[in-house]
């Protein structure tokens, strides 16, 4: 037997050990990588977003949460706001919360600059006129939220060359409003009376109502014109009747129809101007509404309201901004925001008897305003003894007595219909708010009015040049030099 040299390979044995070690290492790394992915998936699925802002800018109100929880239909928010726009971030944040709060909500963003073709198709599909809108879609039903309505701006600094400052964000108010309207299903039906020289819903002229027609349509109201003169009663299923600027009298059968409609829990908005008769000194043209409204506790003044202090700059004193708003859900948002409504040739509308709790004042002039009763000429008028002293009430909201099992009637009377015309609605956004709020209150959709805008931080520094210099020196010299000084001390201590 010869001893043959054993050729036990040592290298392969080391390789095997190395192989085992590398294998164990890789398996360990893979296992931990898998755990990393699993934990992150769970973290992503069951996440929570905390809002640390003082004003709760990114938190949904309880009202929105309950609306979202009760959603029965799928709703999609289609955003046509470019990422560079100021409103993009707050809209994105608030909608991500809607998305997180309900499985029925989805959100899609379209940047008209990056996807012009797709955005254009959708703009046509949703019938929106321009970009800068959020469309809330549920099946065939949709609402459009304009970016101009989403924020409140402070324009006070514009004369000094400052840009408008965003002082509040109304995204939640508007988006939840749109969801409520969608949840409502049926659109409240509003009939506009015709046959008495009223303003027309389809009239695109400055004196027409096509602008408000469009705005209220977006608010989920269905608006139709109605020839009341030939009707024996208000058609069943009518949620609201509007008389917008009648210039000839309503006949008895119409007033009776209105009375029985209100007795059955009906709702009416009356915009009634002081229309002068053809001949000088003939006074105001009667509409038949003065005695009828007196029966509901409303006094329609035979006057034209004048207010030199509240007049629109450069305009006659009968084109005026009301000075104050009454404490009522209709005017509360206007009173909070301080945005003015503009009226043109209005008459006084007040409670027939002072202190009637059913009648709430909505708008009033300054104390210097008055109701001019000498109607021969409204130019160069002066306040005198026979006039109605200010502050003059320009509109009221009235609610009938609440009885169990019976819907109480509601009535809003404003002493001007010009405020609803295209000319004033387009120039004065608060006019549209006043009208929409009146209709929402009449239709008992108060929920649409109650979410207050979120206030943003808005830090501005008013520093003198000396203060700015101190900040510069502190930040760019003092702090870095302190660090350098500490480093030098450490260096010399180490050398010792």
């Amino acid at each position: 037997m010869t001893d043959e040299p054993t050729s036990e390979p040592t290298v392969p044995r080391v390789s095997r050990r190395q192989l085992v070690r590398t294998g164990t290492l890789s398996a360990g790394v893979l296992l931990v990588a898998a755990l990393f992915l699993i934990f992150n998936y769970l973290g992503w699925k069951y996440h929570h977003r905390f809002d640390w802002t003082g004003g709760g800018v990114y938190s949904l109100s309880d009202k929105s949460k309950s609306v979202l929880q009760e959603l029965k239909k799928d709703v999609e928010f289609v955003v046509f706001i470019a990422p560079g726009q100021d409103l993009y971030k707050p809209v994105q944040e608030i909608l991500s919360q809607y998305d997180a709060a309900s499985q029925k909500v989805t959100v899609r963003y379209f940047d008209p600059e990056r996807n012009p073709v797709e955005a254009q198709q959708l703009i046509q599909k949703y019938n929106v006129s321009s970009t800068g809108q959020v469309v809330v879609v549920s099946g065939a039903d949709r609402r459009v939220v304009e970016s101009a309505d989403l924020a409140e701006f402070d324009y006070s600094g514009m004369q000094m060359g400052q840009p408008p400052k965003m002082t509040g964000f109304k995204g939640e108010q508007l988006f939840t409003g749109a969801l409520l309207q969608i949840a409502e299903g049926r659109k409240p039906k509003i009939l506009f009376t015709t046959g008495h020289g009223e303003r027309s819903l389809d009239d695109r002229d400055v004196q027409g109502l096509s602008g408000i027609h469009e705005i209220l349509g977006r608010d989920n109201f269905e608006l139709e014109e109605w020839a009341s003169r030939t009707a024996a009663a208000v058609p069943p299923g009518t949620d609201l009747v509007v008389a917008a600027g009648p210039t000839s009298p309503f006949i008895d059968s119409e007033l009776k129809a209105f009375t029985s409609y209100l007795q059955g829990g009906g709702r009416m908005l009356i915009l009634v101007d002081p229309t002068l008769g053809q001949t000088a000194g003939s006074g105001l043209i009667p509409t038949g509404l003065t005695p009828w409204l007196a029966g509901y506790g409303v006094k329609l003044g035979e006057d034209i309201v004048i207010d030199p202090k509240g007049a629109y700059p450069g305009a006659p004193p009968y084109t005026l901004f009301p000075d104050g708003y009454g404490d009522h859900p209709i005017t509360a948002p206007l009173s909070q925001s301080g945005v003015p409504v503009l009226l043109n040739v209005a008459r006084s509308v007040a409670a027939a008897t002072a202190g009637n709790p059913q009648v709430a004042e909505l708008l009033r002039t300054t104390g210097d305003g008055w109701g001019e009763t000498s109607l021969a000429s409204v130019e160069n008028v002066e306040k005198d003894a026979g006039d109605l002293p200010g502050p003059v009430s320009l509109g009221v909201a009235v609610e009938g007595p609440k009885e169990e099992g019976k819907k109480a009637w509601r009535l809003v009377v404003l002493g001007d219909s010009d405020l609803a015309t295209n000319q004033l609605v387009q120039g004065m956004p608060a006019n549209a708010v006043l009208l929409a709020n009146s209709l929402n209150w009449l239709a008992e959709r108060e929920a649409l009015l109650t979410i207050p805008p979120k206030k943003t931080e808005n830090v501005r520094l008013n520093l003198t040049s000396g203060q700015v210099r101190t900040i510069y020196l502190t930040v760019l010299l003092l702090l870095p030099l302190l660090a350098a000084g500490l480093g030098t001390v450490v260096y010399f201590r180490r050398r010792r």
Binding site: V29, F39, G43, F50, G54, T474
Partner: protein, 244 residues
């Protein structure tokens, strides 16, 4: 725990007794100071739209320093020990690789957090002149600490892979930069799922949210698990060196 504490204090001393740390602090305060001065400029000038909340601009801009800062702060951590051979002495001591890594990492994080401490002066300077909403400021710092924690863990891992501090810094910068780039891709991707996944790791949008006062647990979970993952990798790299 004792072993981690011992490594932690030893490493922390090394940080604070090194003049280099103060050079880093000097440049850090100078650069963040320039960012703050820029912010003050926009808050003073009525023609410029002020950021909202005011300090969000500070966080959104100065966090970019982390691309360099995190690898620089961590490059020395393990590679120096590997190069000098002191790691072998350390390994003969009754201490595990994980404890070494944890102690060193925590020291780097403490030093990193202390770099940001003087920047609180900026918020106080604004608060002297105007009302400041402190919630978004606190959230901004939370974001800065969270993202810093993740990037320092990546740097620690890079340092455990090589004996050269320079290589460690370069690998660290490359890894961190990759993470930054991923965020930039989110904008250009149109696939919904992919977009959502990229948004999850997009540190740009994370700091944006933190700076506006939104604290999302998804981001915190991502940083926490990311830190553990990279520290695990660093530990395994160290173990691997031990056996060679």
């Amino acid at each position: 725990m004792k072993a981690v504490w011992a490594t932690y204090t030893r490493e922390l001393r090394a940080y604070y007794f090194s003049p280099l740390a103060y050079v880093v602090l000097f440049f850090f305060l100078f650069v963040t100071g320039v960012v703050f001065i820029n912010l003050v400029g926009s808050l003073v000038d009525p023609r410029v739209m002020a950021p909202d909340p005011a300090l969000s601009y500070f966080f959104r801009s100065s966090w970019l320093l982390l691309i360099l800062l995190a690898p620089v702060l961590t490059m020395r951590l393990i590679s120096e020990e590997l190069k000098s051979g002191s790691i072998e002495i350390l390994m003969t001591a009754p201490i595990t690789e994980a404890q070494v890594v944890a102690g060193k990492y925590l020291a780097s994080f403490t030093f990193y957090a202390s770099l940001w401490l003087p920047t609180l002066v900026y918020a106080l300077l604004i608060a002297q002149q105007s009302e400041v909403d402190w919630g978004p400021v606190a959230a901004g710092y939370l974001g800065i600490l969270g993202i810093g924690a993740l990037l320092l863990a990546i740097g620690t891992f890079a340092s455990s892979m090589t004996r050269s501090q320079l290589v460690a810094a370069m690998v660290g910068v490359a890894l961190v930069f990759l993470l930054f780039l991923v965020g930039l891709f989110e904008e250009s991707v149109t696939h919904e799922g992919m977009k959502e996944a990229l948004a999850y790791v997009n540190l740009w949008s994370h700091i944006d949210e933190f700076s506006r006062g939104i604290v999302d647990t998804r981001h915190l979970a991502y940083y926490g698990t990311g830190v553990l993952f990279f520290l695990f990798l660093a530990t395994r790299a160290l173990e691997d060196k031990k056996w060679r």
